[in-house]
């Protein structure tokens, strides 16, 4: 995980958020070769961000739902805490001035 933020991997991940895709389709949409796409997918898979399954003769990749759940949990917790603090601040000002 030394090359965090590689733009191609970023693009692959974002496409997989839209819907599951096979390697060939990703390679067709991006300016990189199929082996390069496979290599990026391996990194994403090792990082626990995507999972794959066999459909007939093809391998289809999708975002790991757990990774997306973790991402959302992170920001849910952040905004839960911050909006509560915001409410307290707004109500304190309202009582003082209003």
């Amino acid at each position: 995980m030394t090359a965090l933020g590689d733009p191609t991997r970023q693009a692959i991940f974002e496409r997989l958020v839209e819907r599951p895709r096979p390697v060939g389709e990703l390679a067709g949409e991006l300016p990189v070769t199929r082996p390069a796409v496979s290599q990026h997918l391996k990194v994403l898979k090792d990082a626990g961000l995507v999972i794959d399954r066999k459909v007939g003769t093809r391998r289809v990749y999708q975002v790991d739902p757990q990774a997306v759940a973790d991402l959302r949990a992170y920001f849910d917790a952040f905004w839960d805490q911050s909006l509560a603090a915001f409410r307290d601040a707004a109500e304190t000002e309202e009582k003082r001035d209003g």
């Binding site: 995980m1 965090l4 973790d70 992170y74 849910d76 839960d80 409410r87 209003g98």
Partner: protein
């Protein structure tokens, strides 16, 4: 599956009702952010900050100002419609550093609820831009440097603030 990932990719949505009218809520949210933002833990420039500034216009900057006067951008103002709505970009990495390559978006709507109250709906969307950083974020989320603040909030609520 619900519509959660259709229009805006990966998003979180939260709402809260505040006992203050929309103009007040809008002002506190956008112009007095330092009164509620967890600035000790959530800042990006590496120095203690004194202000969070949102320039009051579309296209304006959104930035933190440190004690020594230096400024560090958090993103941009996309929409500025007081007292109803504001949209900001959030160009901050999972480990709280400036990251223009990770561009997510926050939309906040302020709706009158009657009796001088306001419902505040917040959406933070485009989170898929974090891509592989998600893996790093999971580590942060699970660590004790994460969201201990939640417990404080519950403690405050239990103490009768609500």
């Amino acid at each position: 599956m619900v519509d959660q990932q259709e229009q805006s990719g990966v998003a979180v949505r939260q709402s809260i009702v505040v006992d203050a009218p929309p103009d007040r809520a809008f002002t506190v949210f956008t112009q007095r952010m330092q009164s509620w933002w967890p600035m000790e833990s959530h800042r990006i420039g590496g120095k203690p900050i004194t202000d969070l500034v949102t320039e009051p216009r579309a296209g304006g900057r959104w930035y933190e100002r440190a004690e020594d006067g230096s400024e560090c951008d958090w993103g941009r103002v996309v929409a500025w419609e007081p007292p109803a709505r504001v949209v900001l970009t959030w160009e901050i990495s999972h480990d709280w550093r400036p990251a223009p390559e990770i561009r997510t978006e926050i939309e906040v709507r302020f709706t009158p609820e009657g009796d001088g109250r306001t419902r505040v709906d917040l959406e933070h969307r485009g989170l898929e831009a974090f891509g592989e950083h998600t893996a790093q974020m999971r580590g942060i989320f699970g660590s004790d440097g994460g969201w201990g603040g939640l417990l404080k909030r519950f403690a405050a609520a239990a103490g009768g603030a609500g």
